[in-house]
């Protein structure tokens, strides 16, 4: 019985589809939406921007606000309650780190951006290979 679902979301269209799928596939589960900020970027700007912020927590929340807003909208459409969580670091490491506390991880196959593919790598592939719990890759 799957009762705790971790949805790894990003700011792409695929991220929204991932959450939709998770809510449809596990309607009765407790769903946590995880968004990772400050990961690798083309010139390292996001991580440094965070490191230099006067209020670290506020800065991470700011970066996550938009994604969580659309996540809550999607949840409302599905009559579901979600918990949101923002973390910093490399997405693969963060997701694997948090996966232990859940029954399954749901993640999108890719963000659809060439720069992400080059500079971050395929997150889904690495999570899929190393996760301690079952992983669903949404396509």
């Amino acid at each position: 019985m799957i009762s705790r679902v971790l949805v790894a979301m990003d700011d792409s269209e695929m991220g929204e589809r991932t959450l939709e799928y998770a809510l449809e596939a596990h309607p009765d589960a407790e769903t946590t939406v995880l968004y990772v900020v400050g990961g690798p970027s083309t010139m390292g700007g996001q991580a440094t921007g965070l490191a230099l912020s006067a209020d670290f927590e506020e800065a991470t929340d700011d970066l996550a606000r938009e994604v969580f807003e659309s996540a809550r909208e999607i949840a409302a459409e599905h009559d579901a309650e979600i918990t949101t969580e923002v973390q910093v670091g490399h997405p693969v490491r963060v997701i694997l780190n948090r996966a232990d506390a859940y029954d399954t991880v749901v993640i999108g196959a890719h963000t659809g951006s060439v720069a992400d593919r080059l500079f971050v790598g395929n997150v889904a592939e690495k999570v899929f290979r190393r996760s301690p719990v079952p992983v669903t890759v949404v396509r």
């Binding site: 690798p40 970027s41 390292g44 440094t48 670091g89 060439v114």
Partner: protein, 403 residues
């Protein structure tokens, strides 16, 4: 007849490259100033054009000589068709970089394309190539180190000094009561605001100058190297094309910067721009084409890394400038340098003096930087130049039979 058509095609492609350089460089140089509403976009584009030309005219010609005459042993390999192909690779790299959001150094691509031609014709000067590549490794390391020191020890003071608190009304007004108009501070303008605004505009000009010193060669070196185009004429034509790019695409890139630099606070953008521009100008003045993108990236990472691993002073926390929890992460990073980026250790060993949340829920600044991530970023920035080198080599080997 054919020769003169080819010549105009060559100049056209060179202008296209310069036009794109103008578009791509205006954004990073003047976006902070335009964003802070210190100058309008048209003035920014104008400043860009003037300072680019100044950089190209004074120092830029040294890099043109390096690329056009020294990197290949015999500049005669720059026949018109060969020059056009080289310029196409440089322009193509700019284009690919813009479309896919993959930052690529124009200078690295230019050196790569010319090296491809040199390799295929057996005319590559390995000594010059070796010197250039060594600087591509050394300069980013210098940038990282300087930015790291600033991030660790001086950033807070700089941030206090530069902060722009915008007030309404013009920054400066002219006092006409005397015989000669005299500039005075506008209504509500504080001294700090004036200093901050001048710094932002000034650094944009320095970046534009730096871009001129290193980028003019990327557009005109093949044509100038082989003597088809006069150096001075080339610099003027190239700079005009850059100005056209700054006024058209540049105005757009200043708004919607698909550029990672926009994530940085203003002070950080200024620090990074200063370090990288000075390095670029320095390298250009010894005739070395500089890799601005890589230098800037390593400066950005250095600044953030230095800041994230700093020793937090008591005074900072008392003033409420630092979020206490961020400093927990930074302190942990200081004590356990070897484990920065290893979440399990830093999370478990962090004392949580406030104790308001579960430690595992707390994001830590020390999570932000690890060497493998940075290495990957820098390696990927080399993808476009490497493809240009291989593509140029293959093209000249297969289709031109230059050997």
């Amino acid at each position: 007849m054919l020769e003169s058509i080819l010549f105009f095609v060559g100049v056209g492609v060179a202008c296209f490259v310069a036009y794109n350089i103008g578009g791509a460089t205006t954004g990073p140089a003047f976006a902070p100033a335009v964003g802070a509403a210190v100058v309008t976009k048209v003035i920014a584009a104008g400043l860009m054009s003037v300072f680019f030309f100044a950089g190209a005219w004074t120092i830029g010609r040294r890099v043109v000589d390096t690329l056009g005459q020294e990197l290949v042993r015999d500049p005669a390999v720059f026949t018109l068709p060969a020059s056009i192909v080289v310029l196409f690779f440089i322009g193509g790299a700019l284009f690919v970089g813009n479309v896919f959001g993959v930052p690529a150094s124009t200078s690295m691509t230019a050196v790569g394309s010319i090296a491809g031609l040199g390799l295929a014709s057996g005319q590559l000067n390995w000594a010059v190539m070796g010197e250039i590549v060594s600087w591509w490794i050394v300069a980013p390391i210098i940038g990282f180190w300087v930015a790291g020191m600033i991030g660790r020890y001086f950033y807070v003071y700089l941030d206090n000094f530069i902060a722009i608190d915008q007030t309404d009304g013009p920054l400066v007004e002219f006092d006409r009561r005397g015989g000669v108009p005299r500039p005075v501070l506008g209504p509500g303008t504080t001294r700090r605001e004036l200093i901050g605004s001048s710094v932002v505009v000034g650094i944009g000009c320095v970046m534009a100058f730096g871009s001129g010193t290193s980028n003019i060669a990327n557009a005109i070196a093949p044509l100038v190297g082989s003597g088809q185009l006069d150096m001075n004429v080339g610099i003027v034509i190239g700079s005009v094309a850059v100005a056209a790019g700054a006024l058209t695409i540049g105005r757009r890139t200043m708004e919607t910067l698909g550029n990672d630099i926009t994530h940085l606070p203003l002070t950080a953008a200024i620090v990074v721009a200063t370090i990288s521009s000075l390095l670029v100008i320095g390298l250009s003045s010894i005739g070395v084409p500089a890799s601005f993108v890589v230098i800037a990236t390593m400066s950005i990472v250095g600044l953030g890394w230095g800041r994230a691993t700093r020793t937090t002073k008591v005074a900072d926390s008392v003033q409420g400038r630092e979020a206490p929890r961020a400093s927990v992460g930074a302190l942990a990073a200081d004590e356990e340098t070897a484990t920065v980026g290893d979440p399990t250790i830093s999370v478990e060993s962090d004392p949580d003096p406030i104790g308001e949340e579960e430690p595992e829920e707390v994001p830590a600044a020390s999570e932000l930087f690890d060497p493998s991530t940075t290495a990957r970023v820098v390696i990927m920035q080399n993808v476009v130049p490497i493809f240009a080198t291989i593509g140029s080599y293959a093209t000249f080997l297969l289709f031109f039979g230059v050997r």
